[in-house]
Symmetry: D2
Subunit: 351 residues, 4 copies
């Protein structure tokens, strides 16, 4: 994540955005790999205590790409010091922690964004625009799954497999992405019924879950995520069926949106000049990569900081990060006792 | 279904099977369309009362392709009269009715088969063989969905939308197929948690359901079926992930099985001479159609009647029809009260 | 081919066609396999001399599915005796022989058809209809290739590899199909420039050719066929680009036509009731097989015999068989001396 | 091209390469857009005469991304001044001009590279490695086409459509790419037979060509390129068939290589850590974009400048640029008189 964010920040230097980032300072716990990262990715200085950055007046944007367990404290501290904040997903290890982050950022009056980068895939943004246009009619079904396979061979020491650092396993890691896409594309989630498994016991965290969901608008859907699905390297895929047409997406073919009328799907290669974000990129048919979605995301954030638009609705705010966390918590609770759980967003909106 | 079965029976005449069918008699309620069907599909005679067929000594195989509500009575009567019986799916409108059919057929000592024709798709049979070979390791995930879209425009008078004739809607129609495939490929189902919708109210029966399932062997899975998924004409699709590889299938590309090692999927075009059932068909690359799966199914049944092998495990018996019905009933019950349901197969195996 | 034609003739018995075929007599050279074929495929009698059939008053349609070298003599004899004639492709081993067949059939006043079954694939007929509609604008490019791979492992004794029986190798076998499709879809061919290879020397006939072509309407195209393309079982594929849109087809996915507007391709699953030939077949999404294209072809022929329409333009007449043979001859001549060859159709139309 | 090169140079700053580029100076003809480019893409200064750069001692690498007609003079001048040179493809507007560039660069002893960036697509490099491994056996067929569709709507003033600036149209633009891939993957080309068209007359240069080719090793192939193929945004695709297997690639799915054994193709998603160039990029399944291929290309060039390896065989030298130009010239000559042309590489290798 450090690499992806750092490169995207560098790439912004040659994009038409209202603010140009300057890479002031990078932090990390261990001096030696930190210095390597600093030098490699072009940061001016490196510090081993994030408090130095929070106290640093030159820092205007605090970008937290660390493990989940160190999301809330530094991010809240930075917001309190008036810095705009970007935090990787999942926003926190629990909904209540995420709620605090949202609450603090709002009170501080800073711009806040949760790093759901898939919202910045041109095909995903196009999906949202198509849904808003009404061309697909009324949405009736949603299904999403996010399958990877590295879990079979993962290093046990990886922080993503450590409950203390990651909170949950696949739920917060991959599940959070598809929960956010569900909310972004179809609407707020109301009810969830889930089961989970830890298939590779050494992993210590769940590596598979399945769920059925109901949206507040009545739509039924399914969610599934796995780290142990052989043959699937990064299949973040969803399909939405409406009364007049459907759409589907697969991150392994990131530049394509499948879009149907009542009968037939067409493959929209989202590389035309008029497609979302493509003003930053290449001629028709020349695809963007996964790393470029971070550039799109950061461009959106800089525009928000410059006052050109709000982070929402196309970027995920800390409120979105919190709401996603409520759904993830409900998945865990439902799996524990086998009953449907309403998601009540107990901590009500602030405003 | 009458057309598909009739043509398959005719096609059998030129296949290398141990028994050659003779099309003795077709029955139906209304004389005029019945006579047209008789003449068109090559049946020797037509009768408006199935009891005439049940009493007809020339009839050795009773093939019930009528609406769900008229599955049990004629089929049981035929079995009692010593006729081998083939009945379309779902076997009955309730599990208890299906259990009676199984019980009666067993007591009569006749060969019995439920018309789950997808077991006779070469790619599906190959999937089973691959799973049995152990090449995919231990199964960890299963997901299936069966999506059609005709429900938006269906004639309200259609028997498939009438509770009295169909029992359930999409559950017994499309859901039964994927429940049977789940059982055929992965094993017995133990627990289900489901929700359903009637999206087009005029339909009177549910046209969409989603479910999570647990198999007796611990595998988690998802099931979904819809008649109102725009852009999907007949997407009967499943994917199975194992510890060493995965496979997936889509009936819209009936002659293909996607088969992965730990990393990459390859498209197996199941038209090589060594592929299941292809001894009946064409040179490599020359595909079979949906209708041909009924020919494969009936060939399997005739071989069973001739004593060459049992209907099980590759054909679905009435026991399979009954067990599928228990799962369908559990889907309905779970959707009604929102709790997980164990499937207890209360009516125990007969023998 | 005997199997495919026999089964299609049987299948016609249950289709809505104006004439019902009766399988009078099958001929072959060797008594024992002939009798097996007769019994298996449901022919009333078998004869070892085709002259018996030509003299048989009961025979109204003479269907020649034998090796290329025995196409012309029996077919001409049958036509002279007033029988309607269907002959497999390539119509003959040379253009001049094909011209004689056309000429004789015309003089006899019988219905004549060359067995280019790909014209009876729903997606191919739809391609023609789309082109005629003008939706794609003016055609500018055509490319087709027909790749198989059995040539690596073929039995050397196979007639398809024997110059005496087959004439050419891959040119007459697979090349003829794509030449016919080129003519059916884009128009008459004017110029060809080709090269060929015999990659497996034991084959004795060429097993690969490539060609560039010009149509009379000025369109440029490419043709290629091979029997030794590993991984390609039956890839008969073409693409046509017009000024307003494009289409493409691949026989390995026989039920799909890819159809574009100026930007994006959509996958048309040609299984809707309104699609060509689907009145004979199944509900939406339930695909037809390769064998079913022969049923479509024979239905078309029977309708022509019954006077409902002419064989042309949707079926290939003997004129089409002849014109295709001229192109195949030109491919051979061009490959021999390395120059472009005009195709002059020296033998002018008869009428 | 300026944008793609500039961004790739910036991206190199955070890659593990032996030399870090510093963006000294950008040149262009018109001051105002030049200054915008300079500022946007992060160049230290801008000059309106390339001679200033050629004379600038700080410049060690001269990267020519201008129109074809201004490739040779500045590049030769830079090489003579001891600068390493990278020049976009096609290397020059004629083979003889390209030969001079190669000859001068060799005499100057500088590192020289032609910008065939598709060699730096991970899937293309993997294709080369698979071919070298012998897994596909002996190559028997090659086919490539490069289809775009912008030609229908192009601004007539575009330099790519002006003979004086571009030399040829689609031949040097898209054709050069597939000629280079043919040479990189299969071997030297010996004979070509081609036809061309100017379909949109306002374009003034040819916008479509087709060709058959023979390689020195005897393999036959086809080449085609078009700027007016509706529905194809950037379909740079090739397929190679060998005696033991095949491979195919399509730039619209840049991160995939289709790889077959004797029967079935598997989709290799070239995003595993061990895949070519992926040490620079992301986790499995997280794709790279078209722009990233320039980063790979420039990394390769910097490694060559640092003495880690030669540009060849994986990068294209000016010799490769020259040889490609000979093939392009032969395509033009063959199309002009309709005969096969041998490509004699009259200007022999220098060393």
């Amino acid at each position: 994540m450090g690499k992806a964010h750092s490169r995207a920040l560098s790439a912004l230097a040659s994009l038409d955005v209202p603010l140009r980032p300057s890479l002031v300072s990078i932090s990390g716990r261990t001096a030696e790999p930190l210095e390597r990262a600093r030098s490699q990715w072009g940061w001016a200085e490196a510090v081993t205590d994030w408090r130095d950055q929070v106290a640093d007046d030159r820092v205007r944007l605090f970008d937290n790409a660390g493990p989940n367990a160190v999301h809330s404290e530094p991010t809240i501290a930075a917001a309190r010091n008036g810095k705009h904040v970007l935090c990787e997903k999942p926003l926190a290890t629990t909904a209540s922690e995420a709620h605090s982050m949202w609450s603090e950022a709002e009170q501080a009056g800073v711009v806040h964004m949760t790093g759901f980068n898939y919202r910045f895939v041109p095909a995903v943004r196009l999906a949202r625009e198509v849904l808003e246009s009404g061309d697909l009619g009324e949405v009736v079904h949603f299904r999403a799954r996010y399958l990877q396979s590295w879990g079979w061979d993962a290093d046990e020491a990886l922080w993503r497999c450590a409950p203390a650092q990651a909170g949950t396993g696949v739920i917060g890691d991959l599940g959070a992405h598809i929960v956010d896409l569900a909310r972004y594309l179809v609407g707020e989630l109301a009810v969830v019924s889930a089961s989970l498994r830890t298939i590779v016991p050494e992993r210590r965290v769940e590596d598979h879950f399945v769920a059925t969901v109901e949206f507040e608008n009545g739509v039924l859907g399914t969610l599934e995520a796995s780290r142990v699905a052989r043959g699937r390297a990064n299949q973040n895929t969803f399909e939405i069926n409406g009364s007049e047409g459907s759409l589907s997406f697969d991150a392994e073919r990131l530049n394509e949106l499948q879009l149907s009328d009542t009968k037939h799907f067409r493959r929209v290669l989202t590389t035309e000049p008029e497609h979302p974000f493509m003003r930053f990129w290449w001629p028709p048919g020349h695809i963007v990569g996964w790393g470029d979605t971070f550039t799109n995301e950061l461009a959106h954030l800089l525009e928000a900081v410059a006052g050109e638009h709000a982070v929402a609705p196309h970027g995920a705010t800390f409120e979105d990060g919190y709401r996603c966390a409520e759904v993830c918590d409900a998945i865990v609770r439902s799996a524990a006792d086998g009953t449907r759980k309403s998601i009540d967003y107990r901590q009500k909106p602030l405003g």
